[in-house]
Symmetry: C2
């Protein structure tokens, strides 16, 4: 083709015109140049292919990174959820048991008038201690009250009053025990607070 | 995401066809133009590049599929673990409470000799019922014993004996209550079994 061009010198100008016209066309349409020069076309096709594959690689690698990041986040969250579920696992049962424990506390306040009553109460006190111990081993704690500064997170004030020897805003009486499970308040204690 | 993948796969297949069509031309054109064309080097480099990129795409896509599959497996396992942890969440506290409940059962067997004792026992029976109810609401059940066929999963035989009116291998007496938490035996009951 090069030789042909050299031989046909007369047509050079014309060809140059055509070529420059073609170049403009090239910009517009690669398909037309494809017919004119098959080798170049293969190369440019290959380059397009490379570009497309490179963006595919990039895409699937960034997708992989995203999925891996999601996976890690999910694992971390699942671990935290499992820890929290483990930490407070007995909360439901504890909440169910507290009313029984309240009644137990009240029932033990009876003054024993004879030996049999005294012996029964002693047995019941042992059962009560065992029950409280079982709850303690799961992380249940009584909330401290009398003498402590009133804390609305721990104490529910149901009465106010004056009491000698107590600072203002101090718990002076406990009506019902409150409980925490580890760092979580299961039920605040019901108290009387000094003014 | 699945659709995207399907589309990509379809594109890949189409591209593969185009490529193999091209390859036939390539074989012919390479023979004809091998020495004439300086692009051949570039082109063969480009082809190597394409092959390497294609294997990269394949590799990172199969890696993506593996990670996605791992992720799904992990999610499923985490869900199952969470369900199981949730189902038996109170098991530890229940196991701690059972000895207290045993003593409670024993303490309530006293024969009341006077009014005060009777009244105290009534109060304690109420507390006991509340406690049993709290455990029940968490899924705790007493294991049935007397009259049931002996089942080594549920019953621990500590004695054997004869008893009129009982089939062989039947529980004839209960020494200590056993408990299940949902479908899991927390403690088998201690029983006497007929020979």
């Amino acid at each position: 083709m090069e030789n042909e061009k050299d031989l046909n010198e007369r047509d050079l100008a014309k060809e140059a015109e055509e070529k420059s016209a073609l170049s403009e066309e090239e910009i517009l349409s690669q398909e037309e140049t494809a017919e004119a020069e098959p080798e170049t076309d293969e190369l440019s096709e290959a380059r397009e292919k490379i570009a497309s594959l490179e963006s595919q690689v990039e895409e699937s690698e960034s997708k992989l990174l995203r999925v891996q990041a999601d996976f890690e986040n999910y694992k971390r969250r699942a671990r935290m959820d499992a820890e929290s579920a483990q930490k407070y696992r007995a909360q439901n049962l504890i909440s169910e048991i507290l009313p029984a424990l309240d009644n137990f506390d009240r029932a033990l306040k009876v003054e024993a008038s004879d030996e049999q009553t005294k012996s029964i109460l002693q047995g019941m006190e042992m059962v009560h201690r065992q029950l409280v111990q079982a709850l303690k081993s799961e992380g249940v704690e009584e909330i401290e009250t009398v003498g402590k500064t009133f804390d609305p997170h721990l104490h529910q004030a149901v009465m106010q009053g004056e009491e000698e020897g107590f600072e203002p805003n101090t718990v002076i009486e406990e009506f019902q025990k409150g409980y925490k499970l580890k760092d979580r308040v299961i039920r605040p204690s019901m108290v009387k607070v000094s003014q």
